[in-house]
């Protein structure tokens, strides 16, 4: 089986500062991976590079999505191909309602796949269903995109978009940050409901907390710009218990770009 996403020896630099130095990661359909790491380890950079954010100098032996060369694709083409990034800090767009924005996005993606564009009524029917399980009020649709939203509302809005756009690979960048425990549960339930055999997820997080609610198949620890340890869900608990410091020690002496333990293949 071809992997959904395959990354080999990914390096990234911004303003002459090295952020990623040899990341390897392989994700198959239906898998949920978590990438954990301390601040400034390169977690968010990895997420943004997958989504096509400009401004980084990127090199790699290989980065493919569904077998296609991902790095040459424009951000909108990646999104249309099925990559979705739930932003850590969702962006405000004044004057544009959520329903208008999401309909434009959904129709751009549908058009790409040769599907008919949805009209306002069909779209409303579709989105109302999706809103229910995220415990969102319908008035939400008439609010301008992310403007004046609380932290919880922003994150729920991201998950709503994911539910509507139905990606093949969802990259969730610190979706747990800024959420209280109740909001976290709602968001986690939403994400869990979106787990499917033909959809993979990449959870990016600093803390183990999120992983108690969304249990991953694989956990990777990103440190100093590369994945230094990979394992099952229990790795998250070890990290929680021991902190990242023990890994830092263990890593010393290993050649960059070499994962310490076997990857999830």
């Amino acid at each position: 089986m071809t992997p959904l996403l395959e990354i080999r020896n990914l390096h990234a630099t911004i303003d002459e500062q090295k952020i990623l130095s040899g990341v390897d990661l392989t994700i198959y359909e239906g898998e949920v991976h978590a990438v954990m790491g301390p601040n400034a380890s390169g977690k968010s950079t990895l997420a943004h590079i997958l989504a096509g954010r400009e401004g980084y100098e990127v090199t790699a032996d290989l980065v493919t999505f569904q077998g296609a060369d991902l790095l040459t694709m424009r951000p909108e083409d990646r999104a249309r191909a099925g990559i979705f990034l739930a932003f850590q800090y969702p962006i405000e767009i004044s004057g544009i309602t959520i329903s208008y924005f999401l309909k434009a996005a959904l129709n751009a993606i549908r058009k790409h796949h040769g599907l008919e564009e949805l009209d306002a009524i069909d779209f409303l029917t579709l989105i109302k269903d999706k809103m229910q399980f995220l415990e969102m009020d319908q008035n939400f649709l008439n609010r301008p995109v992310n403007e004046g939203f609380s932290g919880g509302e922003k994150k729920r809005h991201e998950i709503l978009q994911m539910a509507v756009l139905e990606p093949t690979l969802a990259v969730l960048d610190e979706t747990d940050s800024g959420l209280d425990i109740d909001a976290l549960k709602v968001v986690a339930n939403g994400i869990n409901a979106l787990r499917r055999k033909d959809r993979a997820m990449l959870l990016i997080t600093h803390y183990q907390r999120l992983l108690s609610y969304i249990v991953p198949d694989y956990v990777h620890v990103l440190l100093g710009g590369r994945i230094v340890k990979s394992g099952g869900k229990e790795l998250a608990l070890t990290v929680e218990e021991k902190g990242y410091a023990w890994l830092e020690k263990e890593v010393q002496g290993t050649a960059p770009g070499q994962p310490i333990e076997g990857q999830s293949e």
Partner: protein, 480 residues
């Protein structure tokens, strides 16, 4: 594609309305003197009072100096090199649409003006001004039943000279400013609209202006009178063909609202903006002013200014009647080398008067956008209020936004609020949209439309759609 490139190319838009209609025109010789004014007046068979008024305006104009205070750079205007009168050569005024030159109608169709019978059924009455003579006035008879007069200015001069005599220059006197004086001397045509007491005009009245002949200055004049308790919504749209020389457009619009009357005046202006290097284009120097003469009267200006090399205008309201309301809603877009110096004046004279100014400026390419406003509350205007909101959006790093607000309050019971902000369209915003599958150009259009939303809401439905399309066309091309 880099984002820098996105912003650069936004300025590189092409003008889509730049065709020339090949129709024989009858023109006056270039230049301006009393003889030319007499010629214009004679061609239009005007009554003596109007010729006298034109001549007085001309003599006053000769004593005036061209104002230089606007925040714009431009080449000098040679007033003796302009043709002040030009009209399509037809034997007589057409009686119906069937008699109108089919070439003219085809031109209007290209512009998408609702001039055909079907469109009339859709409820729009159009008074189209082609160069200096009003070509066809539609829907007039139906309106006449309600006592509404909607016709070209020339026709009003013939049919309703008393009304013209009473109101012309009553809001914008010919002494008001250099360009108003020039217009008063040489104005060629325009629209006239009279709504009798208690009548609510059932359709949106619409004029479409178009400049066709080369080197022609267009000096139209519009006069709208709303009698007590009446209501009218008036739409004005403008385009001009591409020419490398600049053309002067100096119009005057006067609105008069009596007790409890309401006038809503909407403009979508898309005159030729000049080419990418800033050659050619329209100098759009316009005086627009409304007088809320009666108590509880209301005047609203809404404008979408997307064209012209230079736009220089301040649609204003004199709030004379107690409890009267003045509003100004504006979107001004400048791309390439376009410059706009625009805003509003709200002069509060009556007690408990209210005014609102919402101005949205968008600059791209090398475009320069200036908001200039005056809010003046006089001593008698107790308990008056003004709210001003002034937002600027910058696309790229070579354009500019400027704000010159003036506030004068002469009593202690009034309230004035002024809010202003300048934002740059964010790469974050564009990336967010693109990550959702929306293309870069659609993302820019989406963000700009969001920025203008409050203003578009003020436009009549059809016009709002047109305005949105216009901004899309102006911004969308050649990105990516």
């Amino acid at each position: 594609m880099t984002s820098r490139k996105t912003f650069t190319d936004l300025g590189d838009q092409e003008y889509k309305y730049g065709f020339v209609t090949d129709i024989e025109e009858e023109s006056a010789p270039r230049g301006l003197n009393e003889e030319i004014i007499r010629l214009i007046s004679a061609k239009k068979n005007e009554p003596e009072f109007l010729l006298e008024w034109r001549l007085k305006a001309f003599r006053h104009w000769l004593t005036m100096k061209e104002p230089q205070w606007a925040n714009v750079r431009r080449s000098p205007i040679d007033y003796q090199d302009i043709i002040y009168y030009s009209a399509p050569k037809t034997e007589k005024r057409p009686k119906s649409l069937d008699e109108v030159d089919p070439l003219l109608l085809a031109t209007y169709q290209k512009l998408g003006i609702p001039l055909t019978e079907q469109k009339i059924l859709a409820g729009v009455a159009v008074d189209a001004v082609f160069d200096s003579v009003s070509v066809a006035t539609t829907y007039k008879e139906q309106l006449a039943k309600l006592g509404i007069i909607f016709c070209s200015f020339s026709e009003a001069v013939q049919q309703h000279p008393d009304l013209v005599k009473k109101y012309i220059g009553s809001v914008v006197p010919y002494t008001d400013n250099f360009f108003a004086a020039l217009n008063s001397a040489v104005f060629s045509d325009g629209s006239f609209c009279y709504i009798p007491s208690g009548v609510r005009c059932p359709v949106e009245l619409s004029t479409y202006f178009r400049i066709n002949a080369p080197s022609l200055g267009q000096f139209e004049r519009t006069l709208i009178i709303a009698e007590p308790g009446s209501y009218v919504s008036y739409l004005e749209g403008c385009t001009a063909p591409i020419r490398l020389e600049t053309q002067l457009h100096a119009a005057v619009v006067e609105l008069i609202a009596n007790d409890h009357a309401q006038i809503k005046y909407s403009t979508v202006q898309n005159w030729f903006p000049g080419d990418r290097e800033g050659r050619g284009g329209i100098y759009n120097f316009v005086t627009k002013r409304g007088k809320c003469q009666g108590v509880h009267s209301k005047i609203s200006w809404t404008q979408v200014e997307a064209g012209s090399a230079i736009t220089w205008k301040y649609p204003s309201v004199i709030l004379q009647g107690d409890h009267s309301v003045g509003e100004f809603y504006s979107v001004a877009l400048t791309t390439n080398r376009q410059q706009a110096d625009t805003g509003s004046k709200m002069i509060h004279l009556g007690i408990n008067t209210r005014s609102t100014i919402l101005s949205k400026g968008i600059s791209a390419g090398y475009g320069q956008n200036t908001y200039r406003g005056l809010v003046k509350i006089l001593k008698r205007a107790k308990n008056s209020r003004n709210y001003t909101l002034c937002h600027s959006l910058l696309l790229g790093d070579r354009c500019g936004a400027h704000t010159f607000p003036s506030i004068e309050v002469h009593n202690s019971s009034s309230q004035v609020e002024h809010e202003a902000s300048t934002t740059k369209i964010g790469e974050d915003q564009i990336f967010y949209c693109r990550q959702r599958g929306i293309s870069a150009e659609d993302a820019v259009s989406l963000i700009v439309n969001g920025f203008c939303r409050e203003i578009f809401h003020q436009l009549p439905m059809e016009f709002a759609v047109e305005a949105q399309k216009l901004l899309d066309i102006s911004l969308e091309e050649n990105i990516g």
